[in-house]
Structures are given as structure tokens and as C-alpha cells.
């Protein structure tokens, strides 16, 4: 049952992604991206990743889409039709895709409990975290405690990106305002 739902949702993802390629109205492209993220969040629920699902639904669907729409409001809604032919990009994409599919052929199958990824630290987290950290949600325990430095690094990235956005847009705007006022 879970597998059937999974297969249908992934099919819908393919349809939205192809639609995003074919559209030239950027507003519609951004909406397709929003639908894509929401479908991805639904896939995460089906695959037992509830924490990831609500982060994706809030941050991926909400904030990303709003940022993209704000940008469209500033740069204009329509994409110019491409002048060159799509053969070369298509060739590059097909070759890359074929190489990646070749790489999956000896991967452990989907849902396989004996896959190497499930043998290393994950069982330890599941067994020890109730005693060591004492909260039932293992994902939160790993995120905030075992891999706390990852989260600290993440905050550094967010801070840097925030400083970057302010440097690109915020400070310069204020100077322009002052310049117009002086005039």
C-alpha cells in the first residue's frame, strides 16, 4: 500500500517537473515549483520522515515560493523564448542521467533492512538516545545533540547568506534613498 502511494506521488512529481520545463510564464513555473515541493513533502510523510516533511512544507513551499515570487515582481514575469536549439543540453542531460542510472544498478533495493546505511550509527542512535538524551523523537535528539556541530555549521551558512543578501540589496538601497533625499 505504502509502495503504491509512493509510486503514484513520484509519478505526479515527474509531471510537475516536466511542466516546469515546458512553461515560459515564470509565475506558472514558480507555482509548479511550489506544487513540486508540496508533493515532495507528501512523499516524505509516506517514507516516515515527518520532521523533514513539515520543514519542507513550511520552508520549501512557503519561504522559497514567496522569495521567488518577490523576485519575479522585481524582474518581470515572462521568459524570452530560447533562440538556440535544445539538442546539446538534452545530450548532456541524457548522458549524465544514463551514468547515474548505471551507478544505481548495484545499490541496495528500496526498503531493504540489510542495506549498509542501516548498519552503522543509526541502530546505536535508536537504542541509546532514550537513555542518553531522553526525548522520544530520535531525529530531534540526533539533530540537536549527536550532530549538534552540523546544526551550528548550518546556522553559520544561514548567517552568511543573510549577510550576503543584505550586502547585495539592503545597504545599497538605503544609500540610494539618502542620495535622493539630498537632491
Amino acid at each position: 500500500m505504502v509502495e503504491a502511494v509512493n509510486i503514484v506521488l513520484l509519478g505526479l512529481l515527474v509531471i510537475t517537473a516536466v511542466a516546469a520545463i515546458r512553461l515560459h510564464d515564470l509565475f506558472a513555473v514558480v507555482m509548479m515549483f511550489g506544487i513540486y515541493s508540496l508533493l515532495a513533502a507528501t512523499v516524505f510523510v509516506v517514507l516516515d520522515a515527518v520532521d523533514v516533511a513539515f520543514t519542507e512544507a513550511a520552508v520549501g513551499v512557503g519561504i522559497s515560493t514567496i522569495l521567488m515570487l518577490t523576485t519575479l515582481g522585481l524582474v518581470g514575469r515572462w521568459e524570452r523564448r530560447p533562440v538556440h536549439r535544445p539538442f546539446l543540453p538534452l545530450l548532456v542531460v541524457v548522458v549524465t542521467g544514463a551514468a547515474l542510472i548505471y551507478g544505481t544498478l548495484d545499490m541496495p533495493h528500496f526498503g531493504d533492512p540489510d542495506a549498509p546505511v542501516h548498519q552503522h550509527v543509526a541502530p546505536r542512535y535508536l537504542e541509546q538516545s532514550p537513555d542518553e538524551i531522553g526525548i522520544p523523537n530520535v531525529v530531534t535528539g540526533v539533530l540537536a545533540s549527536y550532530r549538534g556541530y552540523d546544526t551550528l555549521g548550518e546556522l553559520t551558512v544561514i548567517f552568511t547568506a543573510g549577510v550576503g543578501v543584505l550586502a547585495l540589496l539592503g545597504i545599497r538601497r538605503r544609500r540610494q534613498d539618502e542620495a535622493t533625499r539630498e537632491r
Binding site: 509502495e3 509510486i7 513520484l10 509519478g11 515527474v14 517537473a17 516546469a20 520545463i21 515564470l26 513555473v29 514558480v30 515549483f33 513540486y36 515532495a40 512523499v43 516524505f44 517514507l47 516516515d48 520522515a49 515527518v50 520532521d51 523533514v52 520543514t55 520549501g60 522559497s64 521567488m68 523576485t71 524582474v75 521568459e79 535544445p86 542531460v93 541524457v94 542521467g97 547515474l100 542510472i101 544505481t104 544498478l105 545499490m107 528500496f110 526498503g111 531493504d112 533492512p113 546505511v117 542501516h118 543509526a122 535508536l126 522520544p136 523523537n137 530520535v138 531525529v139 540526533v142 550532530r147 552540523d150 548550518e154 551558512v157 547568506a161 543573510g162 550576503g164 547585495l168 540589496l169
Partner: protein, 117 residues
């Protein structure tokens, strides 16, 4: 289930390649960033697919449940989603800045203006 054993990975690769195609074939910078985000979201699906165990459940500990899905990919992807949004924001800020400087967000028009300088 053997027929569909690699189905998730192949769909993810197809989705990655649609994102990649948008990035390299489209001349519009906003659409390129949408393509990057599509690529990114498909990588998230790949990681979460790797963490799923058939018959397993959400990794929140409860009485009477023995098999949980792997929590480690979930943690990595939680971090990646937030980092992804902050890089998208930075990319879009660059696009807005390019629009102010060149008055266009089409790649070839920007190249033309650079050459005519």
C-alpha cells in the same frame, strides 16, 4: 517488490535531470534558480528513500514498536533544506542586483552588453 526495487532512485534521477536541464538550457536567471531548487528537492527525496525500511515506522520511540526507519538521513536533510533556502535567497538577491545593473535577466543579453563595453 523486486520490480520496483530501484524505481525510487530512477525517478529521482529523472527529476534531477529535469532540474539540470532547466539550469543549462534556460537563459533566464530566475528559471535557472528554480531549476537548481528542483534538483535540490530531488536529492532530498533520494536521501529519504535511502532511509526507508519496509515495515518500519516514523523514528519517534513508542512502546511496542521494534522497527523504525533510519533517522540519520532525516537529520541530514533537515539541515540541507534550510541551507538550500538560504542559498536560494542569496541567488535571487544576485538576480535582483543583476536586473538593476543590466536591466535584463536573460543570459545572452547580459553577455551582449558585456561585449559591447
Amino acid at each position: 517488490m523486486n520490480v520496483f526495487g530501484l524505481y525510487n532512485y530512477w525517478i529521482v534521477i529523472f527529476l534531477m535531470m529535469t532540474g539540470f536541464y532547466v539550469v543549462i538550457s534556460s537563459g533566464n536567471l530566475v528559471k535557472k534558480i528554480v531549476g537548481l531548487s528542483l534538483f535540490q528537492a530531488s536529492v532530498f527525496i533520494l536521501y529519504i528513500s535511502l532511509g526507508k525500511i519496509t515495515g518500519g515506522t516514523v523514528p519517534i520511540l513508542r512502546e511496542g514498536i521494534t522497527l523504525y526507519s533510519n533517522p540519520l538521513p532525516h537529520v541530514l536533510i533537515l539541515t540541507a533544506i534550510v541551507v538550500g533556502v538560504s542559498t536560494t535567497a542569496l541567488g535571487l538577491a544576485l538576480v535582483v542586483r543583476i536586473k538593476e545593473a543590466y536591466d535584463t535577466v536573460e543570459e545572452d543579453e547580459i553577455h551582449q552588453q558585456d561585449e559591447s563595453l
